[in-house]
């Protein structure tokens, strides 16, 4: 029963955090949002450059996805930690600096431990800096939520990106080279090498998006 005594108790409860959103967001919903509902590649259509360029085979796709996920998790974490001390005007520049730092780190680690992968990913490792996904998550989530949820969001979104890349990469590899993750499936002579070429990348992504749209339509009808 509400009377003048219960009112003050209600007020106290909401003074714990200055962001009410923090309390209503469950970690699991944050995770699955990034993975499925707001999948960066298939739903938000962000980060198209590496998607088309690094999916010539499933392994490079996986490598790219994991690298981007690592950068995403750590930059989300860092930005979430410092979100209250960064002045609003230089917000974007600060985010880019933090992200660039982690990308440089990842680049050096890749070149040192898996140089073959670093070679095949080439210029797209440093280009993770301008990957719209990471900046979008930094601006849209990490700057507004606590570090723990930001890690979950980074993990979910990064995993969504990786899964999408591997799906596209796997398709292109199976159709284009007759193998998957390096294991030969059928005689490459029968493969349509178009799919490992840039044109094939566009076509594969376009068709996959079309299929997803088709599935969405059928669900709503």
């Amino acid at each position: 029963m509400k009377n003048k005594f219960t009112k003050s108790k209600d007020k106290k409860q909401f003074n714990f955090s200055n962001k009410a959103e923090n309390q209503r967001l469950k970690s699991s919903s944050v995770f699955f949002d990034g993975l499925i509902k707001n999948n960066p590649t298939f739903v938000l259509l962000l980060g198209m450059c590496p998607t088309l360029a690094t999916t010539t085979s499933a392994i490079t796709a996986f490598g790219m996805g994991i690298s981007a996920m690592a950068v995403l998790i750590f930059s989300n974490l860092t930005i979430s930690f410092v979100r209250k001390v960064i002045p609003n005007k230089i917000r974007i520049a600060a985010f880019i600096t933090i992200i660039a730092g982690f990308v440089s780190l990842v680049e050096m680690l890749l070149k040192a431990f898996v140089p073959a992968l670093a070679d095949s990913l080439g210029i797209f490792i440093p280009l993770i800096v301008v990957n719209c996904i990471i900046l979008a998550r930094a601006e849209g989530f990490a700057s507004k939520h606590n570090p723990f949820k930001s890690i979950i969001d980074g993990f979910g979104t990064g995993l969504g990106f990786t899964v999408a890349l591997v799906i596209i990469g796997g398709t292109r590899e199976i159709l284009g080279s007759g193998s998957i993750f390096g294991f030969s499936l059928y005689n490459p002579a029968y493969a349509a090498s178009l799919f490992t070429l840039p044109a094939g990348g566009f076509l594969t992504l376009g068709i996959i998006l079309g299929v997803i749209n088709f599935a969405k339509e059928r669900k709503h009808v």
């Binding site: 259509l45 962000l46 980060g47 198209m48 450059c49 998607t51 088309l52 360029a53 974007i92 520049a93 880019i96 600096t97 660039a100 730092g101 990308v103 440089s104 680049e107 050096m108 210029i123 440093p126 280009l127 800096v129 301008v130 719209c132 900046l135 178009l194 070429l197 840039p198 044109a199 094939g200 990348g201 566009f202 076509l203 992504l205 376009g206 068709i207 998006l209 079309g210 299929v211 749209n213 088709f214 969405k216 339509e217």
Partner: protein, 185 residues
């Protein structure tokens, strides 16, 4: 030199072969006017950024053995350049500033700019080579985005199945374009 320009423009087109600048390529190419505006902006920003980063690379980063800072320095140069350009345009040519609206800050995250700067640094181009490469590559971007805008404007009037509308058909068109350009090798 003419052949290298032709290579960068058409045969190794930055968007259709090197996969840089896909986001604006797909996002801004719905309208011929905005597409050409974006393309010209990219040419300008990239060349300016290429000059600055080339100087930084040779005179600062290499001399002081700070090559590991390359990514951070380059992207900061690009971001500040775009910010500066925005402020200058806003003050001196406000009509142009209003016409470009949100596209200017978007160029910061354009893969083409950073891609060209890093390529130039990696391949150790001379000043002249860098200029040629930058202008030809971004010219290729302009070419690709204007072609795409033309195609998409036509597509709006045609009968595309509902599930292919928007991005999927744009990507498929881009794929066909890439195929066509491939034939020029």
């Amino acid at each position: 030199m003419f052949s290298s320009i032709l290579t960068a423009l058409i045969i190794n087109n930055v968007v259709l072969s090197q996969f840089l600048g896909i986001c604006p390529f797909l996002g801004v190419s719905t309208n011929l006017k905005t597409a050409s505006g974006m393309g010209i902006m990219v040419i300008f920003v990239t060349t300016a950024a290429a000059i600055i980063t080339w100087c930084l690379q040779i005179f600062v980063l290499a001399r002081l053995d700070l090559l590991y800072l390359q990514t951070i320095v380059f992207i900061l140069v690009i971001a500040s350049l775009v910010q500066l350009l925005e402020m200058i345009l806003q003050k001196y040519i406000p009509s142009l500033y209003n016409a470009f609206g949100i596209f200017l800050p978007l160029i910061t995250t354009n893969c083409v700019v950073l891609g060209v700067c890093i390529s130039v640094a990696d391949k150790n181009y001379s000043f002249g080579q860098m200029l040629t490469y930058s202008l030809a590559t971004t010219g290729g971007f302009l070419l690709a985005i204007v072609l795409m805008a033309g195609i998409r404007e036509r597509l709006e009037d045609s009968d595309v199945p509902k599930f292919l509308q928007g991005f999927p058909i744009a990507l498929i068109s881009a794929g066909l374009m890439a195929l066509a350009f491939m034939g020029l090798r």
